[in-house]
């Protein structure tokens, strides 16, 4: 039987632990590398998923901002409508036709403002969608910036819209107030004229009736002799008073 040469045997007995140690270290290193590789792979997938999730969140956030802005704008519109309605309601002397005219004008104004706001909101939404479609957004940082920009821009538009709405409402109020004042003045003048004419007509009619009744009574109540006596009585009185 062939045995290991003595030298080799001696060498092995002397350095075996070193060989074993080397093999163990080599295995561990390999295992570590494999572990790191797998871990890296898993991490990359996770990041990808998070990016997708973040994009989804950004979409949802932008939709939420749009809805919130629309809601705020609607509140402003409703407040303006309420205020104007209150003005109209408190104006008791307006007739129905005039009230309807103001109401129609107000509705048209609100409708125009609402359309303008919806156009702005739709425009921003389109721009945001297009940015995604064109894949300009590649990192979470950029996504955040766009989202923040959208928020600022949108809220700015809402403030701007609010300002326009307030200005228009104020103008509508002033216009309404002037119209009311003018109509009231005109109505008051007409009322005074009507009252004066009517009062005079009533007075004239009353006097005419009373005078006529008195005349009829006097005329029919006197005999010929009484008429003749009256003539001389009046002539003598006039002579006494030295009328002639």
């Amino acid at each position: 039987m062939q045995v290991l040469p003595i030298d080799l045997a001696n060498f092995l007995s002397k350095y075996l632990y070193l060989v074993i140690t080397f093999v163990v270290l080599q295995g561990s290193l390999t295992f570590l590398l494999i572990f790191l590789f797998v871990d890296k792979l898993l991490s990359a997938r996770k990041v990808k998923a998070e990016e997708l999730l973040a994009k989804q969140d950004a979409y949802e956030e932008s939709v939420r901002i749009l809805n919130e802005s629309k809601s705020k704008a609607s509140e402003h519109i409703l407040a303006a409508q309420d205020q104007s309605t209150k003005i109209i309601r408190d104006t008791n002397y307006l007739n129905e036709t005039l009230q309807k005219t103001f109401d129609d004008e107000l509705k048209q104004l609100v409708s125009r403002q609402e359309k303008a706001f919806n156009d702005v909101a739709a425009n921003l939404s389109t721009q945001f969608t297009q940015a995604f479609e064109q894949e300009k957004i590649t990192t979470l940082g950029e996504l955040s910036k766009v989202s923040e920009h959208l928020r600022t821009d949108m809220l700015g538009k809402v403030d701007e819209f609010k300002g326009v709405l307030e200005k228009n409402t104020l103008e509508a109020e002033n216009e309404l107030r002037e119209k009311i004042q003018a109509d009231y003045q005109e109505l008051t003048n007409k009322l005074k004229e009507y009252e004066a004419v009517k009062t005079k007509q009533i007075d004239d009619k009353m006097y005419a009736i009373l005078t006529q009744v008195t005349k009829d009574i006097l005329e029919s109540a006197m005999s010929m002799e009484e008429h003749e006596e009256l003539v001389f009585k009046l002539l003598n009185n006039a002579k006494i008073r030295q009328n002639f």
Binding site: Y207, K215, L218, H227, L230, F232, L234, A238, F244
Partner: protein, 166 residues
């Protein structure tokens, strides 16, 4: 020529009294004047009895006139016509048709109370209701009941209105 004196004028005015009758008397005087020179048979329609027969008789009582010729009488008539046409009446308005007695009384009252007044003219104006209106020497006096009633309503407007509004 015979002058028309004041007593003759008064005689005429007392008989005539009103402007209407004065016009009639003027017509008859004119007619009488026109037939002065005609023979009786030349007058186609002999003048019959008039409203002024008594007055004519009173005027002819004057012997001077009776014994005068047509020229004197004509001149005398012309004087009467001229004077009568220039006579301005006092104008009265009453609401009833005056009876003759009323006219006489009114003439008498006028003669007594209104100096210088001669004839009267009476107009019937039912609208005055009663009383009388006078126009004298360009002045106008209203003693009609219509004016008095209207004045009463004007003076008492507020009181009447307050009663009506209750």
């Amino acid at each position: 020529m015979i002058e028309l004196d004041n007593s003759t004028k008064e005689l005429i005015l007392d008989e005539v009294m009103t402007q209407d009758r004065a016009y009639k008397f003027i017509d008859e005087l004119t007619l009488a004047n026109s037939i002065l020179y005609k023979e009786l048979d030349q007058v186609k329609q002999p003048h019959s009895t008039t409203d002024f027969n008594d007055l004519f008789n009173k005027l002819l009582i004057n012997k001077a006139i009776l014994n005068s010729g047509p020229d004197v009488i004509s001149d005398y008539i012309q004087q009467i016509l001229t004077w009568l046409k220039d006579t301005t009446p006092v104008r009265y308005s009453v609401s009833f048709k005056p009876r003759h007695e009323f006219v006489k009384k009114l003439y008498a009252w006028t003669k007594k109370n209104l100096q210088g007044a001669q004839l009267v003219e009476i107009e019937v104006t039912p609208e005055i209701l009663g009383g009388v209106k006078i126009s004298l020497n360009g002045k106008y006096y209203d003693f009609g009941l219509e004016k008095m009633v209207e004045q009463y309503f004007i003076d008492n407007k507020n009181a009447i209105l307050s009663i009506l509004q209750k």
